[in-house]
Amino acid sequence: MSEAARTVEALLFLSPDPLSVAELAQAAQLGEPQVREALATLAERYPAGERGIVLRELAGGHTFASDPASEDAARRLLSRPRTATLSPAQAETLAIVAYLQPVSRPEITRIRGVSTDSATITLLERGLIEEAGRSEFGAVLFRTSTLFLKLFGLGSLDQLPDVSQWDPTPEEQTQLRERLLRAGDARGGNAAPPGADAPDEPAESLARTGD
């Protein structure tokens, strides 16, 4: 296979969208006739009905696609049920939102001690938490959703389990939020640099402990 054909093959493989001859020529730094020749070579290499990958010419240009004959297998692969269990990071984030809501991301990060962006995004995508306005410092606040109550079989937030049975120091009378922040700080939760979670709100937690 010529170098031109190899390059065009790699480009078609990587591109999520169909590529025109002009686009291919520009990226590969080839003349359009060379690109056309490369595409002809590839058409021979990927004859319709014989390979799992087919070369298609669509309105926008050329693209690779999977062979329609493999669609059943592809569906089985891609629709594997996503595991319903929460990762430890997601479970912690969800628990913090559930018990402290509304709560901001910097506060979650401070309690957990690590950046919580991806867990928060996943929980948002799965509809377990939702935005609940902004704090006085401009950070997005989160609360749990109706779907959350449904999935956890709760009639209302009052039915969240009493934490005291898992509380390592149940005799402490201080507010839950304050204690979580204190434990987070003790674990080094303040280690996240400013900017890791926008915006930093050092005073907010203090302000809110009075709630």
């Binding site: 449904k150 999935l151 509380d167």
Partner: protein, 278 residues
Amino acid sequence: MSVATLDLDLDVFSGPFDLLLTLILREEVDLLELSLADVVLAYLDHLEARDELDLETTTEFIVLLAALLELKSKLMLAGEHEDELIDMEPEQAAEELLARMLDARRYRAAAGHLRELLAAEHGVRFREAPPPAHLRRTQLEPEEASQDPTALGQAIGRLLALPPTISLRHIAIPRVSVAERLGHLRRLLARGASFTFDEAVRGADRMTVAVTLFALLELYKRGEVDWRQSESFGEIDIGAPGRLAQNGTPWGNGTHPGAGAHSGNGTPPAQRLAAVAP
């Protein structure tokens, strides 16, 4: 310029050196996270920029840095158990330090290997196009009450757990500030009579002794105090300028009190400073 005002711009700290020291003593800056090599480099840059070697401040710097180095190496040796390092014999400490050095060396080499691996994969790309929508069957609605709320309570319980304090407590650093010791010395000076260093630190722990010495140096620099040691291993007399009982140079027999001569209890002040790290 004194070392105290040396301006630092480090990963974990930016500001004057004395503030850094204060923050370390107050445990607000984690010494483990501080690159002491960077502090040295900053000082060397500073020396180079000034193009002159001031032995006095350089000495001060070296003594302080030695104390920090020792403190840091002890911190790095410290295990989860606070008493561990206090009980450590020199041989044991050397073994432990060697193990740490090997660890650091190992993973630095492993890091080099990883970088080589990554470089060898240069140009290898993967397809990132999402699979066509028609092949992604819609997700099944999750079942009602399929999740257990106790998992949430447990998570909160774990987050409430306070880690065991691996603090600097075993280094026995009381929270004593230079400012506080400056105030203490000034109060003593204000009484008018001269006094000895031992009197100034009577009953104090080693950290307070060290910080008091630091404060004394500071007062001397500002011209607020004179001090004198009439003989090696002798008392250090301290008084307001011109108020010391004896005549002669403030250095007595020429020995700088901070430079290795011994004060009353047999511990030279410089050593006390170094002994900040027990």
